[in-house]
């Protein structure tokens, strides 16, 4: 019962994302634009680009993820679907998890898929690229999960977009530091297993806590 509720919610959200393709593609476009502007802005020196590349990709990924976050619950709150979610026999945290998963697939997975191409712009070596994709795969779900809490808290506030970024970005700073440290280590071919394990720990922690916290935040917003 829980599984079928999860799958049904994912299907609905993916169908909806497909219906609003142009809105969904915005984060991807934003991501590509930021990264392609950097080589033009700081000059094409390969050493400089290689030095700042991992940071640029990660900052761009964080900011693009912020763009799409509000979509997660906004429409459902406005049209009353969230009330129906609350009355579903499927527990609300499970439905929230389904929404987080579909949000990650729709808004963030495309960013990770194009990142090898963008790594070329920034003169990243293949070792760095490997580390970068690994950190993105482990780190960006944390953004979606914590984002669900932020959106849940601010969904009843109209125009909560900037508020979400203000709430979330400070919390995501450790993620940024650890992830870019891993890629920096890969630059000089040092092992970066430690950083990867820290990212995995952050992911597991937010997987365990965020759906419950976001569900509670949504209940409070619906009061």
């Amino acid at each position: 019962m829980v599984v079928s509720g999860f799958v049904a919610q994912c299907q609905r959200d993916l169908l909806l994302a497909f219906r609003q393709r142009s809105e969904v593609l915005q984060p991807l476009l934003f991501f590509v634009l930021i990264i392609s502007l950097f080589p033009l802005g700081v000059g094409p020196g390969p050493q400089i680009l290689q030095k700042i590349g991992p940071g640029i990709v990660w900052v761009a990924a964080l900011l693009s993820a912020m763009l799409g976050l509000e979509r997660m619950f906004r429409d459902d709150f406005n049209d009353g679907y969230l009330e129906q979610m609350l009355l579903s026999p499927t527990p609300l945290p499970v439905l929230v998890m389904a929404k987080v998963v579909s949000h990650w697939i729709v808004s963030i997975l495309p960013l990770i898929i194009v990142s090898p191409l963008l790594a070329l712009f920034l003169n990243l070596t293949s070792g760095m690229l490997q580390a970068l994709v690994l950190t993105l795969l482990l780190g960006t779900p944390v953004v979606s999960l914590l984002g669900a809490i932020g959106v849940g808290l601010t969904v009843s506030v109209q125009r909560g977009g900037v508020l979400i970024s203000l709430l979330l970005l400070p919390i995501l700073v450790p993620l940024l530091i650890v992830a870019t440290a891993a890629v920096d280590a890969a630059t000089v071919q040092l092992p970066y297993q430690g950083q990867i394990l820290i990212l995995a720990a952050l992911l597991l922690l937010s997987l365990a806590l965020a759906p419950v916290a976001a569900a509670y935040a949504l209940k409070v917003s619906l009061e």
Binding site: L16, D79, G80, L86, L222
Partner: protein
């Protein structure tokens, strides 16, 4: 026999007491018609009865069990709020199918027939945003036919409906009550005399 009972409900919003303490009970087969001026707390009361909002004091009991601890209450409940819970980008069929999946009920095989009965022939596959307000309301009300449930909580079900649709809905409400169902509804337009309702009047409190 099912019953829904409210005991000493008090609702306080923005430091204003909307209503309370309110005690009433709705036995099986009864229709409770909640009336009152704008801002009297009708929607708040219905949301509390549905278990979406929490009451400040008191409690709601379904079959003598507090709904906050009643795990099966939501599967016995059909709540239609004053906003219709249809996603505007999805079609009527997609909305209803998604809702059935969410509520874990299997959609009836003849969904087209149901929509035709509600006067939506030919509009099944259009995005709901292209339908009129009354048609969107009909899509929402189709949910009453999809989920067998003991308790119906309907917030302004008549809004934007035409005379025929109201008649169809009232007949269906009467049939539900005759079969031992419980209905709690609000409306600014009084239900027709054919419907045997108990009235609950909420006054605007300063």
């Amino acid at each position: 026999m099912n019953s829904l009972r409210a005991e000493a409900l008090v609702c306080i919003k923005n430091d204003r007491q909307l209503f309370g303490p309110l005690t009433f009970s709705v036995p099986a087969g009864a229709i409770l018609y909640v009336r009152g001026p704008n801002g009297a707390g009708k929607t708040s009361l219905l949301r509390i009865l549905a278990g979406i909002a929490q009451t400040t004091e008191g409690g709601v009991y379904f079959n003598d069990q507090n709904i906050a601890r009643h795990s099966l209450y939501s599967s016995e409940l059909n709540y239609i709020g004053h906003i219709s819970a249809n996603n505007l980008r999805l079609s009527a069929l997609e909305n209803l199918n998604a809702w059935c999946a969410l509520q874990q009920v299997s959609p009836i095989p003849d969904l087209y027939g149901l929509l035709a009965k509600l006067g939506l022939t030919g509009l099944e596959d259009l995005p709901v945003v292209q339908l009129s307000a009354g048609q969107q309301r009909r899509v929402a009300l189709a949910r009453l036919w999809l989920k067998p449930s003991a308790v119906w909580i309907l917030d302004e079900p008549y809004t934007a409906l035409d005379v025929e649709a109201i008649k169809l809905l009232e007949e269906y409400i009467a049939q539900h009550a005759a079969q031992g169902g419980i209905v709690v509804m609000t409306s600014h337009q009084p239900p027709s005399a054919k419907l045997d309702v108990n009235q609950l009047t909420l006054e605007y409190q300063w």
